[in-house]
């Protein structure tokens, strides 16, 4: 797994890198089964 390739979309639909989000400190990403 290449962490730098992990991406998601923000609420505006822009692609964001999970690794970049964690650059300023640890981030706990809770992957949900689905919304709702």
């Amino acid at each position: 797994m290449i962490v730098q390739e992990l991406k998601a979309l923000d609420l505006a639909g822009r692609s964001v890198s999970l690794a970049e989000l964690a650059e300023s400190g640890p981030v706990l990403f809770a992957f949900l089964r689905h919304f709702g």
């Binding site: 797994m1 290449i2 962490v3 730098q4 390739e5 992990l6 991406k7 998601a8 979309l9 923000d10 609420l11 505006a12 639909g13 964001v16 999970l18 690794a19 989000l21 964690a22 650059e23 300023s24 400190g25 640890p26 981030v27 706990l28 990403f29 809770a30 992957f31 949900l32 089964r33 689905h34 919304f35 709702g36």
Partner: protein, 137 residues
């Protein structure tokens, strides 16, 4: 998990929720979690890269049925599925430099994120795991 936000922040971490519906569905969902960043991955690419399970068997099984009954008894009712109905979740604790500190892959729909184990990696509560090796379940 969002109910333990203070604990997560006290450990020096931020919580972000990642679903797999559309950005519009994510925005609607986010209204229920003020102060928490909500992201989405409709492509499921990141779910796959993390090895998170997906399938009918993981979603519909005796364990998930028991969990659903338990949730219903606690007053939690699932109203709709906005995203992939067969995708399972998990927990990823990522540190600076792209360091995977903890990864939990849920086995089925009844699995819950083990926040205590994730926070233990940050030195909260339980004895921290060995440095340099992520804990993967």
């Amino acid at each position: 998990m969002a109910g333990r936000l203070d604990e997560i922040r006290a450990a020096g971490a931020r919580l972000m929720l990642v679903g797999n519906g559309s950005p519009g569905q994510a925005a609607k969902f986010a209204k229920g979690f003020p102060g928490v960043t909500v992201l989405t991955d409709p492509s499921l690419d990141t779910y796959r890269a993390l090895g998170l399970r997906r399938g009918v068997g993981a979603t519909l099984n005796p364990g998930s049925a028991l969990s659903a009954v338990g949730a219903a008894l606690r007053g939690n009712r699932q109203t709709s599925v906005e995203g992939d109905p067969w995708q399972q979740g998990g927990l990823l604790l990522l540190g600076p430099g792209g360091q995977v500190l903890y990864l939990q892959r849920n086995r089925g729909a009844g699995d819950r994120p083990d926040l205590d184990r994730a926070l233990a990696v940050l030195g909260v509560g339980r004895k921290p795991v060995r440095r340099g090796r992520p804990e993967v379940t």
